[in-house]
Each structure stands twice: as structure tokens, then as C-alpha cells.
């Protein structure tokens, strides 16, 4: 199958783009597209065309899904053509060229030999990625022969990778001694779950055993409990009695004691307490009275000792004010010294400044130098103006010579510019020629076409036997009309037919004659049929013998010689009798045969007659033939007359009919060509005249670089460049003149600027002299100088001002001091005349001290007076309390029947004792009541007194021991019950075991699933390796042989060949043989590029092998050469070109250099360019 045309009607970036791939027998179709041209879209379109556009195609960015269309015209090796359009859709996506009629998919599949989409992509397409993958696979697989041969035969680039993937997936599921694989893991889990199941399962007898034990323990526990109850009851009674015995004895003693205190007066329980309290309070009151008396006395004494001055206290505020002022007075004295020092320093500094101003003025006269602020401002303003004037003047002075120089340079440059030339004529000539320029190229190719057409016609002419004829002769050649030729054809046909008939008849008769002769011969060979003649001859012989015998019998003389001769006539006989007998029998025999074989005799006679008839017929036919030959001569002669004048080799009318037809076409071509040539020649003449015109104009302008043979286009270009150059010159001159004018104006301006500046300077000088005079400067002083003098003067006046301020402060301090002394003296005269002689600060301090002392003494006296008053109040209170307590004590003595307080304690003791004994008796009865078990105490006592107290202890011990035993048993039983209950509770009908069983089923299902997948992977791996091995055995020889040659070519001879070797493990591997040193290179030692090329060689060999036995399928190559160096790329292109002789080769590339390489190395008759 091959593709004649690929129509990208609406697909990816394409709209109605048509690739005409019909060129060549099969053709090397090179499709070039720059990066964005849609090369990969076109590549995809090719596959989608044959196998449908996928549901999720991304090639809909321009044309929506329903509009997508790819069309094609394809053709098989035996000439079947299919034109169809593929649209996008789910079904019925194949349509006829009208985009309506349905086309069966199976029809298209016949064209692609039933190869499915995947195989098509893999086996009949190769891209750069495949190449790289294939190369890597070779290196990684160590060049394993089987794998490489299989790759070559299938186009699979990454066979090793696929095998490894299968293995890895299987390994992920299972490994014979693995732990972590899915199946291995599940098996471990399965065993664990089985163990769990076993341990969760409960056995029937276990449950029954526990149930029985539980029930037994429960029953025994009941019995033990009732026994315990009895024992405890008994024990309890005995213990009560044992406890009651000492109580009864105690009760008797108490009753005896109580009798001693029957007459005691029962006092209130708090009586003693109250008594003791009253006595203590009375003592306290007495102590308080004494203390108060003492305090009053000591306070009175202290007051009498205190002294203070009332006058001082009255003038307290004044004393304090003076004391306060004393601090500031002291500080002022210190400040005054500092102020004085600072003031003298300032005066010294001022004097220094004045002296520096180079003046004889004293400080007092300095005032003369003081100027007003406005005057100072004016001096500064004038200074600044001076700067401006000077700058402007200097600038003008500097600029003047510079401008002059620039103008001079410009004039020099203007002088060097070439003179202006007139180009109008050239321009006109060029405009005239421009129209023809575009036609020139076209005309050249037209002439080339004409030349090649001429060659075609020439070939045709030769074929038609018109080699020497000119076109004119050909056009005017009087070739007979086709009708005439047809008439001759008919005439020749008629005579030929007649001749043929005769010839046929002749042959038929000849054959019949031959047949007759053959039958005659056969008849003869079978056995000669005797004729009458034969009979006559035999009888003659017989009769002759008889005559001889008669002669002998009759004793007639006989010649022995005659007899001997007669005998000898019959071979093998010796006597006359024998000979006669033989001849007689012979005669009889012939006679018999004649009678017997009369039929055969007749047949032979008829055959002989037929033979004669046929011979006569043949003679007649020969005559007829001669006549017919003569009849044929007439048209032949006329035919010759018709053609001879033309002077060509003429043949039969039928041939000449074809010839005349071809000739007519030739004439047509000749006529066309003549017209084309005339037109083209005229055009060329026009072009040449324009060329000459241009050459002439150009020649006048530019002597060199003009050739007579220059094409019009190049001349136009030259003219254009000259005009452009000239225009550039003109522009430059204008620019220079403009610049020069500007500079001249500038020169003038600079001159006038200088002049005005000089005038300004003289005006300024006058104002300056006037302004600086007050500060003692002359007119020639610089502005900076004036500024310095003004700054110094300002400094001087500031210092003088500060010294004045200091002087004023010193005077103020002296005045304050005098006032203070006066005030102190006044105060001392009033309150402390003894201090009149002391200096004022000292007196002020002393006064303050005395004031503080007087104030303290007065405060102390006031406190003492307040304390004394309080003490007096306390004394009267204590006296009142003391009398009250004594009265209360007297009343208590009366209650206890005592005369005085001292007897009270004894009465109290008796009362208490009585009360105590009664209480204890009551308590003993309480105890007994509790032990009696509800019986009245008296009855209880009576009951106990009847029992033997010594037996009780033994009985109690017995009971206690029995109870202990029973309790132990009970505890054990409770434990048993708890344990069994727990056991039974654990066996609660839980579903744990069944859950484990469910889990086992789940695990089994998982294992089964994974095992199935594992089996599929392992089987796939195995079948693949079996297939690889089988294919290797079958194809290794031819594939290696062919790919060896291809590898040699593709590597440009760097490698001599490849061959199979054995690796370290004894497996067959492919190695390369380097040409240079015949060294064996293992694939691991090959560069990536070489491995890629090895892969390519294998692929192409596989492809070629396939093509040998199958309908070819176009081979699509996608830019595989981008990493090849130019030599190897060229070699590969040549190899591919060779393949393109067997199948259509579609080569996509982005790379322009590959297009150029293809042009260079592939013959143009098989290389066809297409661009996207």
C-alpha cells in the first residue's frame, strides 16, 4: 500500500492542506516543517486517517470534533485505489470522497493488510525517542541476540524494559522465599488467622466441665454458710457473758463507795470555777489601783522640768524664712566668683579680635565699626554678583576659539564630500526595468523548461523516426489522413485474411495427407496385406517346383542347377520336396489370407485412393495461394507510393495509425513549444534591452563591478544601491550645512556676551568701593575678604554684649547680700540679744536651732498632760470593781454553808465525789444492758451468776477454730465460683472464631486474585521468551547479515560489521567489528549514538525482511537523524533512500540542514519535497 495523497482537511492547525505523495515509484517523501508548523499533527493525522481519530483527541483547537476530517487516496501494489475521508466519531467514521457515502472499515483494512494500529505505529514508524530507547535497550540488555532479532522483527524498541516490567510486577506479587510480596504476606496472614481461629474455638467438653464445677461450688458454698451461721450465734453469746463478768464486780464496789458521800451538799458544777474567777479579778483590781497612783506622780515631775522661750516661738515663721534664704545667699557668693572670671575672659577675647582686625581702636571705640544689617546685606549681594559677572565673562572667552575651530573642521569636511551627480536617467531606466525584473527569473525557468521540453520532443522525434527533421518540416509533413490509413488497413486485412484462409486450408489438407500416410504405414507395419500379385507370384513358384518334380518323376532330363536355384529361393531348405511343399503351402496361405483379410485389403486400397486425392488438393491450394499473393501486391504498391515521399520508415497500416496519432500529438507539442519559445525569446529580448540600458547608465556612474552578464535583477539592485548611496550623501551635506549655520550664530552671541560682561564689571567696582568703606576696607578688597571682616566684627560685638550681661548679674548678687544682713540684725534685736555680735549667717543658723528646741519642749509637755488625765480615770474605775467582787464572794460562802472563803474548797470536793460515783454506776449498768441481749440487767446478772466462768474461755476457742476453717473453705469456694463464672462468661457464644473463619475466606480470595494475576504475568514472560527464542532460531541468520551491511553503511564504514559472539555466560550476543583495527566492540562499549545506529540497522533489516514477503506499508520516519553527525546522517539518508525503492518512505523533519543533506545525497528522481 502507498499513500498518493494526504488531505488535512480539518485537523489540528490544518485547513484544506494537501500533501501530494504520489511522486515516484514509491518515493522518498521528505516533509519539512518548522517547529510550529504542525509536523507532529501531520504525523498523528497519518495514523488517525487509517485507524480513526481517538475519542479524546487534542487536535480540535481549531476545528471542533464534528468538523474534523482527514482525507486520502491510497493504492495497493496491484493498482487498487481507495479514496476516502476519515471523520471523528464513534462509529461509521469512514466515508467516500463526497463525505457522505459510507465506506466499510474492512475495506480499508484490506489495504493495510490487516495490520492494527499498534503494530502500524511500532513496526512502520520510527521516531527519535524510539531510536534512543532502542539504543539504551541494546546497551542495557548486553546485546542479547534473541532480543535484538525480535526487536528488529517487530519494531519494539524497549523489549528489555517490557520484560523487566513483567518480572517486576510478578515479583511484587510473589517470590518463592519472600516475605513482603502480596501473596507471601497474605500466606503469612492466613496462617496467623488459622492459629487465631483455633485458639478462639471452644470445645464442647470444656464448657461442660466448667459448668459442672461452677454448679458444684455454688451448692457447697450454701452448706458452709449455714454451718457458719450456727457457730457464730453460739460464739456471740459466750463472748457477751465473758465481757459482762468484770462489769458485775465493778458494780458492787461502786455501790459501797456511794454510801460514804450521802450527806454532801450538791453544788452547781461551775461553783469552783466561779469562785476562782472572782478571787483572781479582785487581785487584779487592787494591782491596777497601785499602778495608777505611781504614774500620776512621775508625770507631774517631768512637766515641772520642761523650759522654752515664747518670743522665739512667736517669731518662728521669720526665723525659718531667714534660715531658708541663707542657702541661696551661700550659693550666690560662689556664683559671683565664677561670673567675674568669665567676664574678664570675654573682654580679653574681644580685645584680641579687635587687634587682629589691624586696627588701633580700643574696645570702647569698637562701636565705630558696627554697621547696619542692610549694609552687610548689600556687601554680600555685591560679592555674589561679582562671581556671576566673572563666570559669564570667562565662559565667553573660552567658547569663542572653540566654536571657530569647529566651523573650520566642518568646512574641511564639506570640501571632501564628492560632487553631486545627476541620477534622473538612471532612476528612469530602473523604473522601466523593474517590471521585467520579476519576470526575468520566471523566464529563465521557462527557458529551462523549454529546453527540457525540447529534449522530450527530440526523444519523441527519434522514436517516431523523424530524427533529422526540423520543426518546420515536421509541421508541414504531409502525413496521410487517418481515414486513408484505415482504408488501407481494411484492404490489407481482406487480402491477409484470404491468404490466411488458404494457408489454413493448406495446412489442414497437409495434415490429412500426413494422417492417411501414417495409417498406410501403420497398416503396413501391422502386417503387409497380401495382394493379388503376391498370390500370382507364389503360385508361379509352386508351379515351377511342380514342373521340376514332374520332370524328375517323368525322368525327363533336368538340370541340377535349376533345382538348386529353386531350392535356394526358399531359405533354410535342402531338398526339392521340402521347397515345393513350402511354396505350395505359401500359395495356399496367401490365397487363404486374401480371402480372410478381404476387409483390410479394401481399406488399404481406399487409403491409397485418399492419398492421391489429398495430393491433388494440395496442388490446387498452392495455385490459389499464388493468385492471392498477386492480388496483395496491388495495395502494397499503393501503400509505398503513399509513404515514400515522406522519407520515413513506414510499416503496416495498423502501426502507422498509431504512429500518425503520436505524430499528431508531436506536432501539437512542437507548435506549443514554438509559441512558448517565441514568447519567451521576445520577453528575453525586452529584458536584455533593459539590461543594456541599465548597464550603460550604471557604466557612466560607476566604472567597476558591472558585467555584461549581470542579471536584470542584480542590475536593478545595483542601481537601487547607487541611488540610495547618492541620497545618503545628499542628506549628509545638508546636515553639515545646517550644523555650520548654527555654530556661526553661536559665535556671534558669545562675542556680545563678553562685551556686556566687561561693562557690568566696571559698574560693579564703583558700588563695591562705597559699600566696603564702613568696615575699613578699600575698593580693591575681594568679596571673600569683606565677608571675613564682617564675620569677625559680628563675633566681636557678640562677646562685648555677653560681658555686659555678666556685669549686670554681679551687681544684683551684691545687692541681695546687703539686704539679708539687715534683716538678720533686726530679728536678733527682738528675740536674742546675746547673738548681736555674731555674723549674720551664723546668727541665722543659731536662731533656727533654738527655735527647733523650744518647739520640741512645748510638744512634750502637752503629751504628758494628756497621759495624766487618762491615768486618773483608770484609778477611779479599779476602785469601783474591787468593792463589787468582795460582795459576790460573800454570797457564795452563804450558799455552801461556809463561814469564810477558805472553807469553800472542801465543800466543793465532796459535792464532786458524790456526783462522780453515781455516774460510774450508771455507766456500768449501760454496758451490762448492751451485753444482756435484750434481757433486763438484773435477770442477766442472775443468769450469769449461775454459769461456770472457768469453762467459757475453752468453749470460745473451740468455736473460733471451727469458724476459721469454715471461712477458709467459703473463700476458696467463692474464688472457684468467680473463676468458673468468668470462664463460662468467656464462653458466651462469641462469634470470634467465626469472624476468623470469615477473615480466612477474605484472605483466600485475595490470594486467588493475586495468584491469577501472577500466573498471567509469569505465563506472559515465559511465552514471550519462547517466542523470542523461536524467532531468533528462524531469523538470526538473515537479520544479522542484512543489519551487518546496514550498520556498516550507517556508521559510514566506522564499523566493518556485526556478528554474534558468546558472552561470559555463554549466551549469544551481538558485537560490532571496528573497521580500523578489526577489534571486537561489545555493545556496552559502544557510544549511545552508535548503539542508536545499531538499533536502526536492526530495525531496517527487519523491515526489509518483512517487505520481501508482504505488501509494503509506508514507513514513517520522524526526525531520527537530529543527533547524527553529518557523515552518518548522509549515510543513513542513502540507506533510507534505498529502502524507499521498496516501500513509500515518509520522512518528517524540523531541521533544514537535513533537507539540504537529502538534496545533496538523494537522487532527485526519488526525492520529493513537501513543506507544512
Amino acid at each position: 500500500m502507498r499513500i498518493d495523497e494526504l488531505q488535512l482537511i480539518a485537523f489540528g492547525p490544518f485547513t484544506d492542506t494537501v500533501l501530494d505523495l504520489s511522486g515516484g515509484q514509491e518515493g522518498f517523501h521528505l516533509i519539512y516543517g518548522s517547529n510550529e508548523a504542525g509536523k507532529s499533527s501531520a504525523l498523528r493525522a497519518l495514523r488517525h486517517l487509517l485507524y480513526g481519530i481517538p475519542a479524546r483527541s487534542a487536535d480540535n483547537f481549531l476545528h471542533p470534533y464534528p468538523k474534523m476530517r482527514i482525507g486520502a487516496s491510497i493504492r495497493t501494489g496491484n493498482g487498487d485505489v481507495l479514496k476516502f475521508i476519515r471523520r471523528k466519531g464513534r462509529s461509521n467514521t469512514l466515508r467516500g470522497p463526497d463525505d457522505e457515502t459510507m465506506v466499510e472499515e474492512t475495506l480499508l483494512q484490506r489495504f493495510v493488510s490487516g495490520i492494527d494500529v499498534d503494530l502500524f505505529a511500532v513496526m512502520f514508524g520510527i521516531g527519535y525517542d524510539d531510536l534512543v530507547r532502542g539504543g539504551q535497550d541494546i546497551i542495557q540488555g548486553g546485546g542479547d541476540v534473541g532480543r535484538l532479532v525480535f526487536s528488529a522483527g517487530s519494531g519494539i524498541a524497549n523489549l528489555l524494559e517490557i520484560q523487566n516490567e513483567l518480572q517486576a510486577e510478578a515479583d511484587y506479587l510473589f517470590r518463592p522465599s519472600g516475605q513482603k510480596q502480596k501473596i507471601n504476606e497474605a500466606l503469612i496472614h492466613l496462617n496467623q488467622t488459622r492459629i487465631e481461629l483455633k485458639s478462639a474455638q471452644l470445645k464442647g467438653q470444656d464448657w461442660c466441665g466448667h459448668d459442672k464445677a461452677f454448679r458444684r461450688a455454688l451448692q457447697r458454698k450454701e452448706e458452709v454458710q449455714s454451718q457458719l451461721h450456727m457457730h457464730l450465734k453460739k460464739l456471740n453469746r459466750l463472748q457477751r457473758i465473758q465481757q459482762a463478768l468484770p462489769l458485775i464486780a465493778e458494780r458492787k464496789d461502786l455501790e459501797n463507795d456511794l454510801r460514804k458521800y450521802v450527806d454532801a451538799i450538791l453544788l452547781p458544777e461551775d461553783f469552783s470555777e466561779k469562785r476562782r474567777e472572782l478571787l483572781s479579778k479582785l487581785a487584779n483590781a487592787e494591782t491596777q489601783k497601785d499602778q495608777s497612783h505611781k504614774n500620776i506622780e512621775s508625770s507631774t515631775r517631768a512637766i515641772s522640768e520642761l523650759t522654752f522661750s515664747q518670743e522665739l516661738l512667736d517669731n518662728g515663721d521669720t526665723v525659718e524664712a531667714i534660715h531658708l534664704e541663707l542657702g541661696s545667699q551661700n550659693k550666690a557668693v560662689k556664683d559671683r566668683v565664677q561670673l567675674e572670671t568669665r567676664r574678664s575672659a570675654l573682654f580679653a577675647e574681644a580685645g584680641e579680635i579687635l587687634k587682629n582686625l589691624d586696627d588701633d581702636l580700643s574696645l570702647e571705640e569698637a562701636e565705630k565699626r558696627r554697621i547696619k544689617k542692610t549694609e552687610a546685606l548689600k556687601i554680600r549681594k555685591l560679592g555674589a554678583e561679582y562671581e556671576r559677572i566673572i563666570t559669564r565673562m570667562e565662559d565667553a572667552r573660552k567658547r569663542l576659539p572653540e566654536i571657530t575651530l569647529e566651523i573650520e573642521e566642518m568646512e574641511k569636511e564639506l570640501g571632501t564630500l564628492p560632487g553631486q551627480r545627476s541620477l534622473d536617467a538612471l532612476r528612469q531606466a530602473m523604473t522601466d526595468a523593474e517590471d521585467y525584473g520579476s519576470q526575468e527569473k520566471h523566464n529563465r525557468s521557462e527557458q529551462a523548461d523549454i529546453k527540457s521540453a525540447l529534449k522530450t520532443i527530440e526523444l519523441e522525434q527519434n522514436r517516431l523516426g523523424l530524427k533529422e527533421k526540423t520543426f518546420h518540416e515536421i509541421e508541414s509533413l504531409p502525413v496521410p489522413l487517418p481515414e486513408t490509413i484505415r482504408i488501407f488497413e481494411d484492404r490489407f486485412d481482406a487480402t491477409d485474411r484470404l491468404l490466411n484462409n488458404i494457408k489454413g486450408e493448406f495446412k489442414k489438407v497437409q495434415a490429412a495427407l500426413l494422417e492417411v500416410e501414417r495409417e498406410i504405414e501403420a497398416n503396413r507395419l501391422e502386417q503387409e496385406v497380401p495382394t493379388e500379385n503376391d498370390l500370382l507370384k507364389a503360385r508361379e513358384l509352386r508351379d515351377m517346383g511342380w514342373g521340376l518334380i514332374v520332370e524328375i518323376i517323368e525322368n525327363e532330363p533336368f538340370s541340377e542347377e535349376t533345382i538348386q536355384e529353386y531350392i535356394s529361393n526358399t531359405a533354410g531348405l535342402t531338398t526339392l520336396a521340402e521347397a515345393f511343399d513350402a511354396n505350395m503351402k505359401q500359395a495356399d496361405f496367401i490365397s487363404d489370407r486374401l480371402r480372410r483379410e478381404a476387409g483390410r485389403v479394401a481399406e488399404k486400397a481406399m487409403l491409397l485412393a485418399e492419398q492421391i486425392t489429398h495430393k491433388d488438393q494440395l496442388q490446387q491450394l498452392e495455385k490459389d495461394h499464388e493468385i492471392a499473393e498477386n492480388e496483395r501486391r496491388q495495395p502494397t504498391q499503393e501503400w509505398t507510393t503513399l509513404w515514400q515521399p515522406l522519407g520515413i520508415n513506414y510499416r503496416s497500416p495498423r502501426e502507422m495509425a498509431q504512429w500518425a496519432n503520436d505524430f499528431k500529438l508531436l506536432v501539437q507539442k512542437v507548435r506549443d513549444l514554438r509559441n512558448r519559445r517565441t514568447k519567451s525569446d521576445e520577453l528575453q529580448k525586452d529584458i536584455d534591452s533593459h539590461r543594456m540600458n541599465l548597464i550603460q547608465h550604471l557604466g557612466t556612474l560607476e566604472a567597476k563591478a558591472i558585467h555584461d552578464k549581470d542579471s536584470l535583477t542584480s542590475l536593478i539592485k545595483k542601481a537601487q544601491s547607487i541611488i540610495a548611496l547618492e541620497e545618503e550623501l545628499l542628506r549628509k551635506r545638508d546636515q553639515l550645512l545646517r550644523d555650520k549655520r548654527k555654530l556661526e550664530n553661536e559665535l556671534k552671541a558669545a562675542g556680545s556676551r563678553l562685551e556686556s560682561s566687561e561693562k557690568d564689571l566696571s559698574g560693579w567696582q564703583e558700588q563695591w568701593e562705597h559699600a566696603v568703606r564702613p568696615i575699613g576696607l578699600k575698593g580693591d578688597a575681594q568679596p571673600e575678604e569683606a565677608n571675613v571682616v564682617m564675620d569677625e566684627l559680628k563675633n566681636l560685638f557678640e562677646k562685648i554684649k555677653e560681658a555686659d550681661i555678666l556685669q549686670k548679674r554681679i551687681i544684683g548678687i551684691d545687692r541681695d547680700r546687703e539686704e539679708f544682713v539687715h534683716r538678720v540684725k533686726g530679728l536678733v534685736d527682738v528675740v536674742a540679744k546675746d547673738l548681736a555680735k555674731r555674723p549674720a549667717p551664723e546668727a541665722a543658723l543659731e536662731l533656727h536651732h533654738r527655735l527647733k528646741q523650744s518647739r520640741e519642749a512645748r510638744t512634750k509637755m502637752e503629751t504628758l498632760e494628756k497621759q495624766m488625765e487618762q491615768e486618773r480615770r483608770r484609778l477611779s474605775h479599779a476602785s469601783r470593781n474591787s468593792a463589787d467582787f468582795e460582795t459576790q464572794l460573800k454570797a457564795m460562802c452563804e450558799e455552801a454553808g461556809c463561814r469564810d472563803i477558805d472553807q469553800l474548797p472542801e465543800a466543793e470536793q465532796r459535792s464532786t465525789k458524790h456526783r462522780e460515783i453515781s455516774a460510774r454506776l450508771e455507766s456500768t449498768d449501760g454496758h451490762l444492758r448492751r451485753l444482756s441481749g435484750g434481757v433486763p440487767v438484773k435477770d442477766f446478772i442472775k443468769e450469769i451468776l449461775e454459769i461456770d466462768p472457768d469453762g467459757i474461755a475453752g468453749e470460745i476457742q473451740n468455736l473460733e477454730e471451727a469458724i476459721e476453717v469454715l471461712n477458709g473453705e467459703k473463700e476458696a469456694l467463692i474464688e472457684t465460683i468467680t473463676i468458673e463464672k468468668t470462664e463460662l462468661k468467656r464462653m458466651d457464644g462469641s462469634g470470634k472464631a467465626s469472624e476468623s473463619a470469615e477473615q480466612i475466606q477474605i484472605i483466600l480470595a485475595g490470594i486467588e486474585n493475586n495468584a491469577e494475576q501472577y500466573a498471567r504475568l509469569k505465563i506472559a514472560t515465559k511465552v514471550l521468551s519462547m517466542a523470542i527464542e523461536r524467532y531468533r532460531e528462524k531469523s538470526q541468520g538473515p537479520v544479522l547479515k542484512r543489519s551487518s551491511a546496514l550498520f556498516n553503511q550507517i556508521t559510514g564504514g566506522a564499523f566493518d560489521s556485526i556478528r554474534a559472539e558468546y558472552d561470559d555466560k555463554g549466551g549469544p550476543v551481538i558485537v560490532g567489528i571496528r573497521n580500523r583495527d578489526k577489534e571486537i566492540v561489545r555493545v556496552e562499549g559502544m557510544s549511545d549514538g552508535t548503539a542508536d545506529q545499531l538499533y536502526l540497522a536492526l530495525r531496517l533489516a527487519g523491515l526489509e525482511m518483512y517487505m520481501e514477503n508482504n505488501e509494503p506499508i509506508p514507513f514513517v520516519v520522524d526526525d531520527i537523524l537530529i543527533k547524527f553527525d553529518n557523515d552518518r546522517a548522509a549515510a543513513t539518508l542513502k540507506v533510507l533512500a534505498k529502502i524507499s525503492e521498496k516501500t513509500q518512505l515518509i520522512f518528517f523533519t524540523h531541521h533544514h540542514h537535513l533537507v539540504q543533506l537529502a538534496d545533496k545525497y538523494i537522487h532527485s528522481s526519488i526525492l520529493f519535497h513537501h513543506s507544512l
Binding site: L202, E998, I1002, A1015, L1024
Partner: protein
């Protein structure tokens, strides 16, 4: 008027068979299905106020050894006792094989028929006579029904029998009996067990298989439960099948014929599962998915079967919202006639295809292939090798099926380049 319940083949704690676990499978919902179905039975008896319950054998699996199952059964029987409901039980073949049967003590509302002779239990209110005989051994081949006593006059007579009846496919031929004998016995109702599919064999008198209470494997599809029998004043009998199962087995047969892509097939699976859910009123389903038919997506599916299985499982999760467990997925698709690699017998791929043809046609599995799987076979648990659908690596029809699956997978992987773009 009174009601009673007829159930059989409870197979308590018998696990659901070989559910394939995957992330997201509703494991919890499927736990203890037989117990929960049994609890449904008990609840039904109580809420319908049934006079009694008859169980026609096979309470447990014969080889199940956990006494807990018996204790659980006792606890459920106690619930019936508390509700005043009697239970009549004959032992089936599984019970006879079970150790649990021998030692279990039931509460007094439960009556077990003897195994050595037929017996009759009579009730006064309602007036019912129940006749039965249990299995003494796991394989009883003789006709037990023929020895059953004559009906009791003026009582409602029930025959309780574990039997294969006249023989049922897939069930052991135990205690066979003829239909005529049963009809002629003069009983009002024959409560039969052993056959797991509910079936009303006769209506005059009623001869009924209740079927089992909970399906446990893919061959036990459809609704499972018990029979609620209502007996009128004149002994007229109405029966109603009540489904009490908690998990239902279903088969989703998906025809992938003509599907364009794997996603097309997924859509069909989704639709099928939705239908199944609807048909089963949203019951929990254990669904086996069979995909068959001729489709262009055949190669696509087999080139990465694992992935497509996961897709189907996630569709089940999505569709069922936890109501569907995809028990197993079996893919048996074929390439459409037009999609075959028709004449490709040349070249390496041709060689591979030829090899596949040869291996598939062989009557004995190629020893190399068996050898590849020998390691795995040694490790596989016994259960997977003996069951009907087990992994029989040396069985030629198993290998043929597997090769049919491997072929497109391998070819697609080898020619994967074509699939892109």
C-alpha cells in the same frame, strides 16, 4: 387460628466464601451474616406471635468445631422461651457430623427429635402434632419418611424432615423419599430442609423447602429466608416466604459487546450494579461481576487488568455507597472480528501470535508453563486448588482461558507505543 415458622439450613457461623478484600470493601457490614439472619428469624417469630418454630435440620456446618456457636444458639432459643414459643428441631446431615450437637443443652422450650426412631410431639393449644426423625449419622441414605407415624386424629399434623426429596442437583442424596409417600401420609404440612433453594413442591398438602436463611457463596444467589405458615380454623393453610437474609449474592453479567473503550464498559458495569441494587431493594450485595462480549477495549482492559478491576471496585463503592462488595471480577471479553490482527503471521509479532495459537491448541499444558508456576503452586493453600473455580495450573482448559487473557495483555504491552497520542 395460629401461625408457625418453618426454617432450615441455618448453617450458623458458616463464613461467606472467598470475598475478595479491597480497600473500601464493606467488611463490617458483612460480618456474622448467618447469625444476624438467624436473629431476624427469632425476631420474626416473636413479632408474628408464632405458636412455634420448626427447624428442618442443619443448624451448623458439620466440620465447624466452635462450641460458642452452640452457646449462641442456646441464647437465641432462650429469647423464644421468654416469648413462650416452642421450637422443634430435627438434626440434618451437618448436625449429625457436628460435635456441638452431642453436648449442647437447650432450654426446655426446645424439642429435639430422636435419631434412632420417628417420634411425635403433641401440643394442646393449638392442637398440633409434629412428627420427625433426625439424622443419626452424616450420610443417611434410607427413606426416613416412610417410617413416620400415622397422623393424629383432629390435630394439625406436621412432618419435619431433612431430605433431598426426589433428588436435587447440587445436594447430597440423603433420606430420599417419594412425593407420593409424602402426599399419602395424610399430614397437613411437610416442613422440609436440606435443599438451599426455597421451593413449594405441592400445595395439597403443602410440601415445602424453606431454603436456607442466608446465602454464603456465589451459587446461592437471590433472596433467602423462611416460611411463615398461617393455619385457619378449619386447618386451611396459607404460606408466605419471608426473606430474612442480611447479605445477598448476586451476579452482574455485563455485556461489553461493542463497547468503544474501557470507560464505556465501566458505564455499563455501573448501570448493571444500579439495577441490581434496585432489584434487591438496596440490600447488602456480594456481587460477582462477569464481563463478556466482543469489544475494541479488550486489549486496553487486559493490558492493565488490575487497574480496571480497581476502577470497577470504586464504581461499586460509589454506586452502592457501601452496599456492594464486589466478590470477584471475571473478565472474558474477546476482540471484535474486525479488530483482530488478521493476517499478521510474518515478523516477530506474528511468531508470538503463532506461538500463542499453538499453546492454546495443545491438549496437555506445555511443561515449561507449568514449571513457571511450580513455585507458586507449592505455596498455595489447599482450598484454592480443590474448589470448582480453583487455580488448576496443569489443567488445559484453565491454561487455555488464561492464555486467552495473557495474549492481548502481552501484545498490548509490547505495542504500547501505538496507544499514546
Amino acid at each position: 387460628m395460629f401461625k408457625f415458622i418453618h426454617a432450615a439450613d441455618i448453617h450458623l457461623d458458616s463464613p461467606l466464601r472467598k470475598l475478595d478484600f479491597y480497600e473500601g470493601a464493606p467488611v463490617e457490614e458483612f460480618r456474622q451474616a448467618t447469625r444476624r439472619a438467624f436473629e431476624n428469624l427469632i425476631q420474626l417469630a416473636i413479632s408474628e406471635n408464632a405458636a412455634f418454630v420448626v427447624i428442618a435440620g442443619d443448624l451448623y456446618d458439620g466440620d465447624w468445631k466452635d462450641y460458642n456457636t452452640g452457646l449462641y444458639l442456646v441464647s437465641q432459643m432462650s429469647r423464644l422461651r421468654d416469648a413462650g414459643i416452642s421450637v422443634f428441631i430435627v438434626n440434618g446431615n451437618h448436625d449429625a457430623a457436628s460435635n456441638i450437637t452431642k453436648t449442647l443443652r437447650f432450654p426446655d422450650n426446645v424439642k429435639i427429635f430422636p435419631s434412632d426412631r420417628p417420634a411425635t410431639f403433641q401440643m394442646e393449644n393449638p392442637r398440633v402434632a409434629i412428627h420427625g426423625q433426625g439424622f443419626a449419622s452424616p450420610a443417611v441414605k434410607k427413606d426416613l419418611a416412610s417410617g413416620y407415624p400415622m397422623p393424629v386424629e383432629s390435630f394439625y399434623n406436621i412432618g419435619l424432615l431433612h431430605t433431598c426429596a426426589t433428588g436435587r442437583e447440587g445436594h447430597e442424596p440423603y433420606a430420599p423419599c417419594s412425593l407420593e409417600d409424602l402426599k399419602n401420609k395424610g399430614y397437613d404440612y411437610w416442613a422440609l430442609g436440606h435443599v438451599h433453594k426455597h421451593e413449594v413442591i405441592e400445595k395439597h398438602p403443602h410440601i415445602v423447602f424453606s431454603g436456607n436463611t442466608q446465602g454464603r457463596h456465589p451459587r446461592e444467589t437471590g433472596s433467602k429466608g423462611c416460611v411463615l405458615v398461617t393455619v385457619g380454623h378449619r386447618q386451611e393453610t396459607e404460606i408466605e416466604f419471608i426473606s430474612i437474609d442480611v447479605v445477598r449474592w448476586a451476579i452482574a453479567e455485563v455485556d461489553a459487546g461493542g463497547a468503544e473503550s474501557g470507560y464505556d464498559i465501566l458505564d455499563r458495569v455501573r448501570k448493571k450494579l444500579e439495577n441490581l441494587l434496585e432489584e434487591n431493594d438496596g440490600m447488602l450485595l456480594a456481587a460477582r461481576v462477569y464481563i463478556s462480549g466482543k469489544t475494541a477495549a479488550h486489549g486496553e482492559i487486559f493490558s492493565d487488568l488490575e487497574r480496571w478491576m480497581n476502577e470497577i471496585r470504586s464504581i461499586a463503592m460509589d454506586t452502592g455507597n457501601g452496599r456492594i462488595w464486589v466478590e470477584k471480577i471475571k473478565v472474558g471479553t474477546r476482540l471484535p472480528d474486525s479488530g483482530q490482527i488478521l493476517e499478521q503471521k510474518d515478523g516477530a509479532i506474528g511468531e508470538l501470535l503463532k506461538l500463542f495459537d499453538e499453546l492454546t491448541a495443545e491438549t496437555n499444558v506445555h511443561p515449561d508453563l507449568i514449571n513457571e508456576l511450580a513455585d507458586l503452586e507449592r505455596k498455595l493453600p489447599r482450598e484454592l486448588k480443590i474448589s470448582g473455580e480453583g487455580l488448576k495450573f496443569s489443567d488445559s482448559s484453565w491454561m487455555k482461558d488464561t492464555l486467552e487473557q495473557v495474549r492481548p495483555m502481552l501484545v498490548k504491552r509490547l505495542l504500547r507505543k501505538g496507544a499514546g497520542e
